[in-house]
Every structure is written in structure tokens, then in C-alpha cells.
């Protein structure tokens, strides 16, 4: 009986499709290149990539814990706004983020002006320290938001029990927060690590030289300059393997918090006073300044040129928004399907399908799809569909990670009740699950929409004459000396991304409230 209550899920088919989307292009590139190969310089690139990604992920995740904790237990005016703004840095196209960081930490930036004024040596943004700073700027907010969702999964019943037992901050941490973190942190660290593994423009611009060569750059070089497809496939294969290894490790380390069922209510943790209060306030203040500084710089840089933007910006912006909305909606359906299937029992296939797309190189994905499509149809006719497809695959891992812990909580809290009412299929989804997932679903769909706005990786090979998207216009403008217009177009891109993110995120939070 119980097994019949579970509707036949399309999840395995979907997972297989996603894995094929990662594997087939890689195979096509390897086949065309007649094999896989690696050069001696590639091993140095692999080593550097792993080192910078591990450090970036560790720093971002460890810093995010106290920040998320402070946000979880403090209430203050502007808290909601700060949480929304946390989405912004992650959504910045890498090139724009770098310009924002330069204005604050660069040679003629605010920080160095201050250091100079008091006679201290200046800070150089170029080198490993610059790469790490940029990655923390981009990923700390994402990690914070993901961990903050974790705090909300601690059932109110447990918090009240802790209160009645007279738990202090330390006992609360040990018995409630630590188990939650053991469930949430591996997934967060995994996502950040994989993002940093494939990071390209940030590392190359701030890395300082060829010592900072990443796998992604080596792939770019192999495809673009040497047309050595077997080397490109070899490197892309290594990248997927590293990611699969990390995903496996994260999966092994993850422990279910095991809070048991609650009644789906949330209660904020007690906010301790004294030095902890000062610490929380100080930390939130610092993080706000760190995140807002570069964002403000991007805005100020882009505002003056807005009036002189070329007319082609408008249709390109409309095209980008349409692509982003389509990608985000399809992506949320797919991620929810996978998360629902994986929440009930461990499903390695689904886990892999929802993680590996992150590790695939955009360039290899694009090149492979191009090779596959070309015998049948002119790739130029496929620019927008391929972009949507690639966006879905690349954004799905984030949405999946965001949804999974909450889907588990909902099923733990309401699964048995729904079973006993024989509530299955669509009614179960509509009346039990979706209303309780509004918040993470809104946040995740917002992330997917905004990511899809900025994605340029795969479309470059397919782009025809009249299908330019906004990121392509930005790159055309910078390629033609028009840095001011490019800064303004980038500001429009960032604003639209953020508006989409904000609409979904607040929509989700309102629906949940």
C-alpha cells in the first residue's frame, strides 16, 4: 500500500537526461579530438585550480556561519533588505564584479587611499589574495543565504524545549545548531567550491599572471588557440572528476539533523545579550560595508552613461529577460522534481545529476552541443533554445541544494499526515508541499533567473546576427573602447537581474508569511 502512495516520478528520467547533457557534449568533443590528453603545464593548472577553489570555499563557508547566525537570531530595521541584498553580489557578471572591487580595493581605490593617508603599505588586489577576496565577495552572500535557510528548518518545538531546559548559547549551538550545520554545510561548501573551480574571468583578471592559470583557462586556450580538442576534453574530464569526487565527499560527510517532525512552525532563536550582541552587530556592519561598497561603485560607474546607450540595448535586454524567465521556470520544475525524489531516500544518480552540471565547462558544453547539432541544423537557428537549455542545466544545482533540506523537513513534518489522508499526486503537491516551499522556491527561482540573465558561456558559438543578448552587447561595447556605455549596459544588466531575483524572492517570502 505504502509504495502505491508514491506516484510514479519522472525524476530518474530527468536525472538521466541531465547526465546526458553533461556527458554527451564532452563525448562529442573527445570523439572529434580523437581521445583525451593532458600536457605537462595542465597539471600546474589543475593544482592551482584546486588550491584556490578549496581556499575560497573554506573562507566563504566558515565566514558565512557567524553571519547567518547573527541574521537568524537578531531582528533589526532593514534586516529584510539586507537579506535581499545578499543575493546581489552573486548575480554580478564576473567582469562587472571585478570593476566594483577595483573601485574599493584597487590601486586607486578607497581602501588604498585610506592606507596611504595613515602611512601604511598599500594592498595589492592582484595575486591569490585578490582571487580569494573576489570569490569571498561573490560567494559569501550565497553561502549565508543557504545557511540561513538551514536555521529556519530547526522546528519551533525543539527551540521551545531548549528554552524550557534553560539552554545557554553554547548548549543551543551544540544540540540544535551543530546538527543543522552538519546537514547543511557540506552542500553549501560543495556549491561554492564547484563555482570557484570553474571560475574564469575573475581568476585571470586578478590572478596576476600565468601562475594563476585555471583549468577553465587551459580549456579556453586549447579550444580557441590550439584547436586541440582532445586536450580540451581531457581537461574538462578532469574538472568533472574533481567535482564528482567533492560531491561524493560532501554526500558522505552530510548527516541528517534528525530533529524529527515538527508542526511546521518557526521560532527565532533567543538573541543573547552582552558581548555576543556587540559581536553580531559588528559582524553584520562589516559584512554590509564589504558587500555594499563594490555594489555602490558599480552603480556610480554606470549612471552617467545611461542616457547615451545605443538603441540595441533594449531588444537585447528584452531577449535576455525572456530567456531568463523561461529558463528559471523550467529549472524550478526540474529541481523540485529531483528534490522530491531524493528527499525520501538517498539517490546517488539524482545527487550526481543535480551536481555535475556545475562542473562542466561552459566552453566544452557549447562546443559539444555545436558538434552534435551541426549535422542536422544550422547552429545559428538554435542560439536561444540552446541558451535556455544550458541555463537550466547550470542553474539547477543551486536550486536543488536550496530546496533539498526544506523538502526533507516538509516530508518529515507532513508526509505521514498526507499519507493517512491518502493525499497523493497533484493535490498533495498543491495543498501540502508547495505552500510550505514558497520561500526556498522563490529564492531559488530568483537565483536561477538572475544567473540566466548573465550567462554568456555557451551562447557565443551559436549567436547569430540578430540574437544578441545583453551580456553580448556589454562585451561588444567593451571591445569597441566604449567603457562608459559598457558600464551603463552592465548596470542595466545587473539591475534587471536583481529585479528578477527580488520579484521571485519577495514573492516567495510573502507567500510563505
Amino acid at each position: 500500500m505504502a509504495s502505491r502512495a508514491v506516484p510514479l516520478s519522472p525524476a530518474p528520467a530527468l536525472a538521466a537526461l541531465l547526465l546526458a547533457l553533461v556527458a554527451a557534449p564532452l563525448a562529442a568533443v573527445a570523439w572529434r579530438g580523437a581521445g583525451l590528453s593532458l600536457g605537462p603545464a595542465d597539471w600546474a593548472a589543475i593544482r592551482f585550480t584546486v588550491v584556490q577553489a578549496t581556499l575560497s570555499a573554506l573562507i566563504s563557508t566558515l565566514l558565512a556561519i557567524p553571519v547567518a547566525r547573527a541574521l537568524a537570531r537578531r531582528d533589526f530595521p532593514g534586516r529584510g533588505l539586507l537579506i535581499t541584498l545578499m543575493g546581489a553580489p552573486f548575480l554580478l557578471p564576473a567582469v562587472v564584479a571585478v570593476l566594483g572591487l577595483l573601485a574599493v580595493f584597487g590601486r586607486s581605490g578607497v581602501v588604498n587611499a585610506g592606507l596611504q593617508a595613515v602611512g601604511l603599505p598599500s594592498f595589492s588586489l592582484y595575486g591569490l589574495q585578490g582571487v580569494l577576496l573576489a570569490h569571498v565577495f561573490l560567494n559569501l552572500p550565497l553561502a549565508t543565504r543557504m545557511i540561513l535557510q538551514g536555521w529556519r528548518t530547526i522546528p519551533a518545538e525543539r527551540i521551545r524545549l531548549a528554552r524550557s531546559l534553560g539552554f545557554g548559547p553554547w548548549e543551543t549551538f551544540r544540540h540544535l545548531e551543530l546538527p543543522m550545520l552538519r546537514e547543511v554545510l557540506p552542500g553549501v561548501a560543495l556549491v561554492v567550491l564547484v563555482i570557484c573551480l570553474t571560475s574564469f574571468a575573475v581568476v585571470l583578471t586578478l590572478g596576476g599572471g600565468p601562475a594563476a592559470t585555471t583549468i577553465e583557462l587551459a580549456i579556453y586556450q586549447a579550444v580557441r588557440f590550439d584547436f586541440d580538442l582532445s586536450r580540451a576534453a581531457g581537461l574538462a574530464g578532469v574538472q568533472v572528476l574533481i567535482c564528482a569526487g567533492v560531491a561524493l565527499a560532501a554526500w558522505v560527510v552530510t548527516r541528517q539533523a534528525g530533529f524529527g517532525a515538527g508542526l511546521g512552525r518557526n521560532t527565532a532563536l533567543d538573541a543573547p545579550k552582552g558581548w555576543r550582541r556587540v559581536g553580531d552587530v559588528g559582524l553584520l556592519g562589516l559584512v554590509t560595508v564589504f558587500l555594499l561598497g563594490p555594489l555602490l561603485a558599480v552603480m556610480l560607474r554606470g549612471l552617467p552613461g545611461l542616457a547615451d546607450l545605443p538603441p540595441s540595448v533594449l531588444p537585447a535586454a528584452a531577449r535576455s529577460v525572456a530567456v531568463a524567465l523561461t529558463s528559471a521556470l523550467l529549472c524550478s520544475v526540474a529541481a523540485l522534481t529531483l528534490a522530491l525524489a531524493a528527499a525520501m531516500r538517498p539517490r546517488p544518480l539524482i545527487e550526481a545529476a543535480a551536481t555535475l552540471p556545475l562542473a562542466s565547462s561552459g566552453l566544452v558544453l557549447g562546443t559539444g552541443l555545436f558538434l552534435i547539432a551541426q549535422p542536422f541544423v544550422s547552429p545559428m537557428k538554435l542560439a536561444l533554445p540552446v541558451t535556455v537549455l544550458v541555463n537550466i542545466a547550470l542553474a539547477l544545482p543551486y536550486l536543488y541544494r536550496i530546496l533539498l533540506p526544506e523538502v526533507r523537513t516538509v516530508l518529515a513534518d507532513y508526509g505521514r499526515l498526507a499519507d493517512s489522508l491518502s493525499l497523493t499526486g497533484w493535490p498533495r503537491l498543491r495543498w501540502v508541499i508547495l505552500p510550505r516551499l514558497a520561500r526556498p522556491l522563490g529564492f531559488g527561482t530568483g537565483i536561477a533567473a538572475a544567473l540566466s540573465m548573465g550567462d554568456l558561456g555557451a551562447i557565443a558559438l551559436f549567436a547569430g546576427d540578430r540574437q544578441a543578448t545583453l551580456p553580448l552587447v556589454v562585451s561588444q561595447l567593451t571591445g569597441a573602447y566604449r567603457m562608459d556605455a559598457a558600464a551603463s549596459a552592465a548596470l542595466i544588466l545587473v539591475s534587471l537581474s536583481f529585479a528578477l531575483f527580488w520579484a521571485f524572492d519577495t514573492g516567495g517570502r510573502h507567500a510563505a508569511a
Binding site: 585571470l204 549567436a463 569597441a480
Partner: protein, 327 residues
């Protein structure tokens, strides 16, 4: 049924329209096709004479063009590839995808350049660009630059054509001493960017004293922004050239039209659009001459390796560069 009829009808109309106006597809780099690039003016001018539909297809930057053509092979829809440069010619010829042009045009290039497969359409000298108000006395050679404490941004030779141009420039000017020179330069290099636009952006934001660009870059600021503070430093060793070329694909289904376009490419209608949209020197100086600012920074000595020499020197030069800058 009705839908099928409609589709069949549309197809017939479409194929008739195609039969009436032949389409010439030109694969080129992104900034060439944009509305502030040379593309639109050239498209209008050529279509006025050819009774055809000229379509520019953007395919990333110069290096990406060759990769794209190699990916597509003989099945490519493109008839012409426009925007490869001298350091890519040897690799492009080796693909055997291009057909000889069979022409012998007169150009105004400062060096002798003839190639059986590729015709030049514009060219420039690489140079380090700086701001006169911040750096009134720029270094006059690579050696002086390396000895100074000036900060420069350059492009990666593994991902950008100017980056590769600098590599060949140092090789052509300093030969066996190139490795030493790169070691001396390494403490001047702030960072190495993936492409030209990132480097130029960093320079404009004040992150570096000089940036690798072209001698014609200051003319952009002068003409488009009325800003005469930018200048190009002239080096005693001479300046390496970038010649941008176009070639006809052997598998084109419009060979006559492609030939007609290559002829048109070296006429005034095409060439006069180049200086103020592509910010390079036209391959044939137009009757009306060059705009202001194009004669301000003219090197007296031009350096250029032949396509074969460039191809042969590349790998060793890249290894030298990588070793010197990885320390």
C-alpha cells in the same frame, strides 16, 4: 493538413526569395558587426552594388573565428572569414579550408605583405598607451620600461591576439634576449587579462600606468571623446604590426559573390569606414585621407614575422613567457 500546406507555401516563398537574392555570409568578430563597428555601413554599401544579401555573423574574437571554422569544417554556411590576423594565417592555411584569392592588389601597408590565401583589410601597430598628464616622459624602449618601476597591464597570449602580438614583438625585437627581457619586465606587470577589453578597462580605471594596445588608441579618445590626454609610447626597437585579413572558404556556394566582396573590400566604400569604427589603419588609404590623430604616433620602424616564422616561434616564446612570469 492546413498547417502542412501553409508550411509548404512558406517554404516555396522562402526558397524563391533566396533564389532571387543570393546570400553572402561573412563570419567575423563581435565588435565588427555591432552598430558602432564598421559592419552596418559596409553592409549597406555592398548591398547597393551586389543585388545580394550580405550577412555578418559574429563569432567571438579573432582567435575564436579560426576555431569556429575548424569546428564547422566543409559544412560551414560561411563564405568568407574576415578578421584573422598575421599570427593566425599559418594555422588557417594549414586547415586547407580556404581557397586562394588569385588577386594582386595594391595596398598602402608600410611593409610588403602578400599572401596567396588572405587579403589584408586593415592593420595597426601594437604600442603601450599611457596618460600624458600622469606620465609625461614614457620609456623609449622595452629595456627602459623593464628598468622603470612603471606598472603595466598586458593580455594573455594564450587567449588574445594582442597578447600574442606582444609575445612576437618581444621575440622579433630581442630574439635570444627575449627570456631575460620578460624576467626584467615581470615586476612591472600588474596582471595579465584574458582579452584586450579587460586590460584597457583596468588602465582607464587607473590600475596601471600603461596598457598594451595600438598606436591608434589615442585617436579614439581624441575623436570620439575630445580627450587628448592619451598617448602611445614610441619604442626605439620598432613596433610589431597586426595585419587583419579576410579569406574565401573553399567550400563556399557563392564563389563569384565572394570574389566580388574581396574586391569591394579594398575599395574606398569599405576602407573609408575602417578608421573611425574599427580604429585601425585602412589597408588602402582612402582618397579623403586619414582622420586627425592617425598621424600623431607613427613608428619609424615596423616589425613583422612572416606567418611561417610566427608559427615556428610561437611555442618556444610562449614557454619562455610562462617560465619568466610564473616566478
Amino acid at each position: 493538413m492546413q498547417k502542412q500546406l501553409l508550411a509548404a507555401g512558406l517554404l516555396t516563398i522562402a526558397s524563391q526569395a533566396m533564389a532571387e537574392t543570393p546570400v553572402l555570409t561573412v563570419l567575423t568578430y563581435d565588435s565588427f558587426t555591432s552598430e558602432w563597428g564598421p559592419g552596418p555601413a559596409i553592409e549597406a554599401a555592398f548591398e547597393a552594388t551586389c543585388a545580394c544579401d550580405l550577412q555578418f555573423v559574429p563569432a567571438g574574437d579573432g582567435a575564436a573565428l579560426l576555431a569556429r571554422i575548424q569546428l564547422e569544417g566543409k559544412a560551414s554556411d560561411a563564405d568568407i572569414v574576415l578578421g584573422l590576423d598575421t599570427s593566425l594565417i599559418a594555422a588557417a592555411t594549414a586547415t586547407q579550408l580556404f581557397a586562394p584569392h588569385g588577386k594582386n592588389p595594391t595596398t598602402t601597408l608600410p611593409v610588403d605583405f602578400t599572401d596567396p590565401t588572405f587579403l589584408p583589410f586593415d592593420w595597426g601597430w601594437f604600442a603601450f598607451v599611457h596618460d600624458k598628464t600622469r606620465l609625461p616622459d614614457p620609456p623609449k624602449s622595452f629595456k627602459a620600461l623593464a628598468a622603470s618601476d612603471l606598472r603595466i597591464v598586458i593580455q594573455d597570449p594564450r587567449s588574445s591576439t594582442p597578447g600574442l602580438g606582444l609575445l612576437l614583438w618581444v621575440k622579433a625585437a630581442h630574439g635570444d634576449q627575449a627570456a631575460t627581457l620578460w624576467q626584467d619586465l615581470s615586476d612591472n606587470i600588474v596582471t595579465v587579462t584574458p582579452g584586450w577589453s579587460e586590460a584597457y578597462g583596468l588602465f582607464l580605471e587607473g590600475e596601471a600606468d600603461m596598457v598594451l594596445s595600438y598606436t591608434t588608441s589615442p585617436a579614439y579618445h581624441l575623436i570620439a571623446e575630445s580627450d587628448d590626454t592619451k598617448a602611445a609610447a614610441l619604442f626605439d626597437e620598432g613596433h610589431y604590426m597586426q595585419i587583419e585579413v579576410a579569406g574565401k572558404l573553399a567550400a563556399t556556394d557563392q564563389p563569384a559573390l565572394a570574389d566580388q566582396f574581396l574586391d569591394f573590400m579594398l575599395t574606398d566604400a569599405f576602407q573609408s569606414a575602417i578608421p573611425q569604427t574599427n580604429w585601425m589603419y585602412p589597408a588602402v588609404t582612402p582618397a579623403a585621407g586619414l582622420p586627425d590623430g592617425f598621424d600623431t604616433f607613427r613608428p619609424t620602424k615596423s616589425l613583422l614575422l612572416t606567418p611561417g616564422e610566427a608559427q615556428a616561434a610561437r611555442d618556444a616564446a610562449l614557454a619562455e613567457w610562462q617560465a619568466a612570469l610564473s616566478r
